[in-house]
C-alpha cells in the first residue's frame, strides 16, 4: 500500500488483514452454530453450510490472497474462474454420475437371487 516504503509491494495493510480475520472468524462461528443447533431448517442445513463456506472462501481470497478487481489481477481472476469451472465439473459430475449408478443398481434381494441361480 501507499504507506509502505518500497512502493511496489502490494502486501495489503494491517487493517485489511484484521478485517479479513474478523470476517473469517465470524463466518466460522456461524457455521459451527448452524450445524450444532436447530436454527436452520434441517433439510436446508447442507445448503446453508455451503453458502457460509463459499462466503468464507471469498473473504480469504479478497483479504488474504488479494484477488481483487485491480488491473494486475485480470489474469489471476481468469485463472481462478477456470479453476472454479473445473472444480464444479469434477465435484458435481462425480456426484451426479454416482447417484445415477446407485439409482440403477439392482436391489439387494434381486442380487442375491441372481447369485443363487
Amino acid at each position: 500500500m501507499s504507506e509502505s516504503e518500497s512502493g511496489d509491494e502490494d502486501a495489503g495493510s494491517v487493517l485489511a488483514y484484521t478485517a479479513g480475520l474478523g470476517l473469517a472468524l465470524a463466518l466460522t462461528a456461524a457455521s459451527f452454530i448452524v450445524s450444532q443447533t436447530h436454527l436452520l431448517w434441517a433439510p436446508g442445513l447442507a445448503a446453508g453450510l455451503a453458502v457460509l463456506a463459499i462466503a468464507q472462501m471469498g473473504v480469504h481470497l479478497v483479504f488474504f490472497l488479494h484477488i481483487g478487481s485491480g488491473p494486475d489481477n485480470t489474469n489471476t481472476v481468469l485463472a481462478l474462474a477456470f479453476g472454479v469451472l473445473i472444480v464444479t465439473l469434477v465435484v458435481s459430475g462425480s456426484l451426479w454420475i454416482m447417484a445415477n449408478l446407485n439409482g440403477n443398481m439392482m436391489p439387494e434381494a434381486a442380487m442375491q437371487e441372481m447369485q443363487k441361480s
Binding site: 495489503g12 488491473p71 494486475d72 489474469n75 479453476g83
Partner: protein, 213 residues
C-alpha cells in the same frame, strides 16, 4: 506472459492505471512468479476437488464400522480451525512487515505462524492416531479411506508448508530481504492462505456435516 501483455494493451483507456500494470514492457518478475504459482495452486485445488467428490460419494459407506458422528470431536475441529485462521493472519502480517523492512516483527509473526501451524498438525496427528487406535483406520471402510485420503492430504500440505517456512526463515536470515527471497516468501504466503481455503471446505463438508444435530 502474452496474456499479461494483452491485458496491459487493453488498459490505455485508464491512463493512471497503465503505469502500475507494467505499461508497455513485460510484467515485473514478481507478478509473473506469483501468477505461475497461482496456476500451481489452482491445479492443487483441482486435485483436492477429486478427493472431495470421492468423500461426498463414499461418506455413507461405513461397512458397519464407526460413523462420522461417532468419530469426530467438534471441539477439536474448532481449535484446529482457529489455529489455522490465526496462522494465516500472522503470515499475512509477517509479509507486511518484511515489505516495510521491519525484520524483528517479521520474525516474531512468522514464528507465530509456525507455532500455530505446528499446533494444528499436532491436533490432527492426535486425532488420527486416536482413530487408528480405536480400530477406525483407513482400511476399516470406504468412508474412512476417503476421509484419511482427503484430510491426510491436507495435513501433508501443512507439513510441507511448515518445512518450507523454516527454509524461508533461514534464507531471510542468511541473505536478507532481497527481491528473490521476497518472491519466495510471497509464494509461501499464497500457499499458506490457499491451505486455509481448503480447510474451510474440509471443516464444512467433512466435520460440520458429519456431526450436525
Amino acid at each position: 506472459m502474452s496474456q499479461t501483455a494483452q491485458a496491459s494493451a487493453d488498459a490505455p483507456a485508464v491512463p493512471g492505471v497503465v503505469a502500475r500494470a507494467g505499461g508497455d514492457g513485460p510484467a515485473p518478475v514478481r507478478v509473473v512468479v506469483a501468477y505461475g504459482f497461482w496456476i500451481f495452486l489452482l491445479s492443487d485445488i483441482i486435485m483436492f476437488a477429486a478427493l472431495f467428490a470421492t468423500y461426498a460419494v463414499l461418506n455413507g459407506q461405513t461397512a458397519g464400522g464407526p460413523t462420522a458422528r461417532q468419530l469426530f470431536d467438534i471441539r477439536n475441529v474448532a481449535v484446529e480451525t482457529v489455529c489455522l485462521l490465526f496462522s494465516s493472519y500472522t503470515c499475512g502480517l509477517a509479509q507486511l512487515f518484511i515489505a516495510r523492512r521491519r525484520l524483528p516483527l517479521f520474525y516474531a509473526f512468522f514464528g507465530m505462524t509456525f507455532v500455530l501451524g505446528a499446533l494444528f498438525l499436532g491436533l490432527e496427528i492426535h486425532e488420527f492416531s486416536g482413530m487408528v487406535a480405536r480400530g477406525a483406520g483407513p482400511s476399516r471402510s470406504a468412508f474412512l479411506s476417503s476421509f484419511f485420503a482427503l484430510v491426510g492430504l491436507h495435513g501433508t500440505h501443512v507439513t510441507i508448508g511448515l518445512l518450507w517456512l523454516v527454509f524461508t526463515v533461514l534464507q531471510v536470515a542468511a541473505k536478507g530481504p532481497r527481491p528473490y527471497v521476497l518472491r519466495r516468501l510471497h509464494c509461501f504466503g499464497l500457499f499458506w492462505h490457499a491451505l486455509d481455503i481448503i480447510w474451510v471446505a474440509v471443516m464444512s463438508l467433512v466435520y460440520l456435516m458429519g456431526v450436525r444435530v
